[in-house]
């Protein structure tokens, strides 16, 4: 007589379900076909981007920025019209998207070049791309030994354009306001070190420091 049927368990990420200490979660997990894990990033790390963003605008264009809170993003949809995607490698892997609304991008370009572009031309695209370079470059140099490498940015134009960070990434966003408009950072990153040290979830489903149990199918 065959024993009770056990559904196959597919785990995204490095999780040893049998070691989970909380019995109800362990039992739940054993009944599931799929456990979906989303990797999170320490928001203290994301704060470094806030500092860098404020500094870049202050230094290059004397534009004061007021940072909003770092929030969990519902998706990878771009919040603004002109967006520089900066690929990141090293301990943190993924992308950071620096988005600017039209007026903000035009005003920044005007400040650094000394004339106002008539439309979103190559200068505006280059300016936003360079913003991405400078913000991530600043962070790269201020992480006290944490390895972070950026690749050349790509610019996409279109508010709402969806960036596919992948289903295991928990995206975050932060909006900044200035006199001439707004700017946003969208983060789709995995902290590879924290992910490799992932612990079993607590009673709320949180996995220490690296990921959280999002949903099960």
């Amino acid at each position: 007589m065959p024993g009770p049927r056990r559904d196959p368990l597919v785990v995204i990420g490095s999780v040893d379900v049998e070691s989970w200490s909380h019995p109800s979660l362990r039992n739940r997990a054993q009944r599931l076909n799929t456990i979906k894990i989303r990797f999170t990033v320490d928001t203290d790390f994301l704060k470094a981007f806030e500092t860098a963003t404020v500094r870049v605008f202050d230094t290059m264009a004397s534009i004061p920025l007021i940072p909003g809170s770092i929030l969990s993003a519902e998706s990878g949809a771009c919040l603004h019209e002109i967006n520089a995607i900066v690929p990141i490698l090293g301990r943190y892997v993924g992308s950071v998207v620096i988005g600017a609304d039209r007026e903000f991008a035009m005003a920044f370009t005007e400040t650094v070049l000394g004339y106002r572009p008539e439309t979103i031309d190559d200068d505006v695209v280059d300016a936003v791309k360079e913003l991405g370079n400078m913000i991530v470059g600043q962070v790269e140099g201020n992480l006290n030994g944490v390895k972070l490498r950026m690749s050349l940015p790509t610019v996409i134009i279109g508010k709402g354009a969806e960036i596919g960070f992948g289903s295991v990434v928990e995206p975050y966003q932060q909006t900044f306001r200035g006199e001439c408009g707004s700017l946003s950072l969208l983060f789709g990153l995995i902290d590879t070190q924290a992910a490799s040290n992932m612990t079993s979830p607590d009673s709320t489903g949180q996995v220490h420091g690296a990921a959280k149990l999002m949903e099960s199918v």
């Binding site: 650094v112 200068d123 791309k129 470059g137």
Partner: protein
Amino acid sequence: MKVLVVDDSGVIRKIISRALGELGINDVKEAGDGQQALDIFGDGSAFDLVITDWNMPVMNGLELVRTIRATGSRVPIMMVTTKSERGNVLEAIQAGINDYVIKPFERENLREKLDRLVVLA
């Protein structure tokens, strides 16, 4: 005086050219990557100063500096880059740069550094 400005960002090339213009230097050639810069640079005899970014497609700024120095040219070279780690600065100095500016920069700072290099050139 003739200057070669190398950066894949057109905006940064324009900012630097503008700063050079404020110093009265208007004979400026521009390149978008290291390889393009080498093609324009030729034997180097026509240029008094090279200003280059580090991160660029095709050939990066560090390779450009090494290649220029390998020809025996002693033209002053300034690197303008987002790379701010001490190790990066040392690597660039070893490759043969004369000055290093970290982006973001204040226009006034850039102008002061250019002013000093122009005297060297």
